[in-house]
Symmetry: C2
Subunit: 139 residues, 2 copies
Amino acid sequence: MSQDCIFCKIVKGEIPSQKIYENKDFFAFLDIKPINKGHALIVPKVHCENILDFPKAEETDFIETIKVVAKALVKATGADGFNVGMNNGEAAGQVVLHAHMHIIPRFKGDGLHTWPHKEFSKEEMDELHRKVLNELIKE
Amino acid sequence: MSQDCIFCKIVKGEIPSQKIYENKDFFAFLDIKPINKGHALIVPKVHCENILDFPKAEETDFIETIKVVAKALVKATGADGFNVGMNNGEAAGQVVLHAHMHIIPRFKGDGLHTWPHKEFSKEEMDELHRKVLNELIKE
């Protein structure tokens, strides 16, 4: 547990939450600032900061937990679909630095729109492509 | 392979893409309609529609692949963070019905904002909480 991490405290029950599910390694609760009805978070019980330091041994169970929780949220809310997403780093909108998966039920015509596309020239895309390939070759 | 699925065709090389990475079960390429510089997609090679029918045997490798690709995208673009997300169902913004993980590099002050929060009363939240718990008890 990280000393001042509010999600570690929620997992331990030191801060109350609307808990919806728990298994060996994961804990799920309703987001207190929901983007849509049924917006929930799934967190690993062991503190890690983001997806890059997520424990490999828990990864299958993480996705299996997402499936269980997402199905229940869809049924409970009558949703037509759902988004799952993790913000990694403050620049990506991560507020609590304890890895968490957002599950956001979606409804036809709910007014939420994906971010607009940006335009890049063919040259910019080709240069970027080369740079990414270079990084992956180093792996 | 699903006959008319464009991501199946991209995986097979029948439709060109700016491929950045490939391993046994996954294929990654730059999104042709990027939300931000370096926006890429990771798709399972075997056709499945969304996270709910994602093959369990590939889940650990899926997250490991996300880690590899995300690190490379961050280095190549100089990003300060990144979002990962899957849209499940057309109501959630899923356009191609072949499961895919978006990896979106983020930059301080890039002007992308998370969706606004909605207000629900305590009674609404409590009722929702009960409904979700009811669904999870049925599991």
